[in-house]
């Protein structure tokens, strides 16, 4: 579909202006997205869509959201020039968008604040959420505590093991953490179980999905709530660099931090974008979580059509990543479209490269990144040396690494 076919009367800013008009009225991003759910949930999704569209352009709602982001989350987050690391890599200047400094330690809170406001408007007394690394679970438990809502968090049993600190944080916040023993016992199974809960308790429960996947309108609203990251980064680049950056890099599991950063730059043709998926042991080994970079087949899972790692019989594949937050076989449908039209280049970073980037940033800048975010840093290590020192890269440092200390210590053979 060309731009002129969709909007003959609109002046297009760039060849990618089409992308700003996604999704369509039925939640499709080209061939992706949609609302593939069992009938019981259709009503709740229609209701959520109506609520969101009625509030999206409501100045009072926006003001409330902005107020919470400023005074509760601590926005704007800084754009930090990692000078020492940039110099050591000997190429482009690297700027870190410090989402790790947000309250609760990651970008995830932007979305949970927004969805909690929606939950409040719909009057539902209970929220549920799925979580992988635990960051979205913590952010959900946090907003639930603040609003006095009952909160149940579904987490794969394997992730409960590798993210003990976040599990305890959620419990301290008053949430119930429910380990999910089915399937591969990771993020996708947590999402299955959250959907089963929602279908049972749909009358009194608001489901806060943590990423830009799931049935319409979730990919849209999670993107919108995270786009504050990119709006700030764009403004800060103009102020601090004096122009837009040459490239953006963000890690992609479901893809919420990446879309948050990328979306406000989508029409800036000269800004290159790189989404970094989890290479795990290496795409060639099959033990990875990189549906886009590995060109996985199209499929339908958790309410949307996207690139989905599955076998030739359509059974969803096991995935592997050092980071629980990226350990997911699918990816947000908007990313699928952006891959197809070539707006974003999707690449991978393998577990060993990720660990190296984690250590390097910690040593050279005194900033300990989440292992998820370290995927983006690993690609910055590859990209920066190919560029000139007067060029600029903005990397989304989507979360802090405290939660991963046990994982790294275990690799180092240290027991506490």
């Amino acid at each position: 579909m060309t731009a002129s076919e969709t909007a003959p009367n609109t002046v297009l800013k760039t060849k990618f202006s089409d992308l700003t008009r996604m999704p369509d009225a039925r939640g499709h991003f080209g061939p992706y997205g949609g609302r593939f759910v069992s009938e019981t949930l259709s009503f709740a999704l229609e209701e959520l869509e109506k609520t969101y569209f009625s509030l999206r352009d409501d100045p009072d709602f926006q003001a409330e959201f902005d107020y919470d982001l400023a005074h509760y989350v601590g926005r704007p987050s800084p754009l930090y020039h990692a000078k020492r690391w940039s110099e050591s890599l000997g190429g482009a200047q690297i700027w870190l968008k410090r989402e790790d400094l947000n309250h609760t330690g990651a970008h995830k809170v932007n979305n949970t604040i927004g969805q909690a406001l929606l939950a409040k408007k719909t009057g539902k007394p209970r929220i549920i959420a799925e979580t992988g690394a635990g960051q979205h679970g913590v952010a959900s438990a946090t907003v639930a505590a603040r609003l006095g809502l009952e909160c149940d968090i579904y987490m794969g049993a394997e992730d409960v093991q590798r993210q003990k600190l976040n599990v305890y944080r959620m419990r301290l916040l008053g949430a119930r953490v429910i380990p999910v023993e089915s399937g591969t016992r990771t993020l996708k199974d947590a999402m299955n179980e959250a959907l089963r809960d929602w279908v049972t308790n749909v009358d009194n429960t608001f489901y806060i999905i943590g990423t830009v996947a799931g049935p319409h309108p979730y990919p849209l609203l999670v993107r919108d709530f995270n786009a504050v990251v990119g709006r700030e980064a764009r403004r800060q680049s103009l102020e601090q660099i004096g122009r837009l950056p040459d490239a953006l890099i963000a890690c992609v599991g479901g893809g919420s931090n990446a879309l948050g950063l990328f979306y406000p730059f989508v029409e800036d043709d000269d800004v290159a974008m790189y989404g970094v998926e989890a290479g795990g042991d290496g795409v060639e080994t099959g033990r990875h979580a990189a549906p886009l970079a590995s060109n996985a087949p199209h499929g339908v899972l958790h309410g949307n059509r996207t690139y989905l790692m599955s076998d030739e019989a359509g059974q969803v594949s096991d995935t592997h990543s050092i980071s629980a937050g990226l350990d997911y076989p699918g990816v947000g449908p908007e990313h699928a479209l952006w891959k197809d039209v070539g707006r974003v280049k999707y690449v991978v970073a393998n577990d060993n490269e990720v660990l190296e980037a984690f250590r390097e940033l910690t040593h050279m800048e005194g900033i300990m990144p989440a292992l998820e975010s370290a995927h983006a840093l690993a690609h910055a290590k590859v990209l920066a040396p190919t560029m000139r020192p007067d060029q600029h890269i903005v990397v989304n440092l989507s979360g802090r690494g405290d939660k991963d200390i046990m994982t790294v210590a275990k690799i180092d053979g240290i027991e506490f």
Binding site: E39, S42, E46, G183, T200
Partner: protein, 267 residues
């Protein structure tokens, strides 16, 4: 005439209600499935829903989740189901067979390929749990042109407006989900069901069949009073789960569970 329409028109003439068992194909192993299907027909099944095992059965409770896991462990694929139906049709040419499952296995082999295979082996209807009519634009015509009925769900949360859309797209029968929840979750309330079915009668001539929460002869008979058909899944699959160490006894057990329902419904 499609076998499903044929069967419901016969039942109407006889003043009887449809009994529709569900089993997951390949559970506990693929070699048993066709035998189970015949046993279910012997016990009074009017239509058979054959479940396509899926790795992520989001609308199902633990009983059918585990059935999927057992079937997948035995390597059961959608193409194997086609062979099962083909084998079943060698001796049973009248009992309608509906494939029920999730979209991804169908998406993976391709809609047209799926529709061709299903039609050629003698499948009569298709119920894709995670595909509401709004997302069926592409597969709908492919099914229709091969006389395969596209069967849709209606839930207690479905608005009248949506129900009208679903009725307009639905074929074969409407599957009314009796309660909010996953399969096998709780026992239904027949009065509640009757209340929800009433407005649907005004919207469609399709037979209204009710599933979720039917455990035994008593609940089956209650539902049969208000609906055109009774769908039973977890109660049967439970028997399979309980007899994994003696699989040769399962067909007989399925038969007795279903026969009890048949007797109660026809009384």
């Amino acid at each position: 005439m499609n076998r499903i329409d044929q069967r419901f028109s016969e039942l109407k003439q006889q003043g009887r209600k449809a009994l529709i068992p569900y089993i997951t194909a390949g559970d506990p192993a693929p070699q048993y499935t066709v035998g189970f299907m015949h046993a279910l027909v012997d016990a009074g099944a009017d239509v058979i829903e054959l479940g396509v095992p899926f790795s992520d059965p989001m609308a199902d409770g633990p009983v059918i989740q585990k059935a999927c896991e057992r079937a997948l462990k035995q390597g059961t694929r959608l193409v194997d189901l086609m062979q099962m139906v083909k084998e079943f049709r060698q001796t049973d040419t009248t009992t309608p067979v509906v494939l029920m499952g999730y979209l991804n296995p169908i998406e993976r082999i391709g809609y047209e390929n799926f529709a061709d295979q299903a039609a050629s082996v003698g499948v009569d209807g298709v119920l894709i749990v995670d595909m509401p009519p709004e997302e069926a634009d592409e597969i709908g015509p492919l099914l229709k042109s091969r006389d395969l009925a596209a069967i849709f769900l209606v839930a207690p949360t479905t608005s009248n407006e949506r129900a009208a859309t679903i009725c307009a797209h639905g074929e074969g029968y409407l599957y009314y989900v009796s309660l909010k929840g996953v399969t096998g979750a709780a026992t239904l309330n027949a009065e509640d069901v009757a209340e929800h079915l009433a407005p649907l009668r005004g919207m469609t001539d399709l037979p209204l069949c009710v599933g979720f929460g039917i455990r035994d002869g008593v609940t089956a008979a209650e539902v049969a009073k208000v609906a055109d058909g009774v769908i039973v899944g977890s109660a049967l699959v439970n028997r399979i789960a309980e007899s994994l160490d003696a699989p040769e006894t399962i067909a007989g057990q399925l038969k007795s569970v279903l026969a009890e329902m048949r007797t109660a419904m026809d009384a």
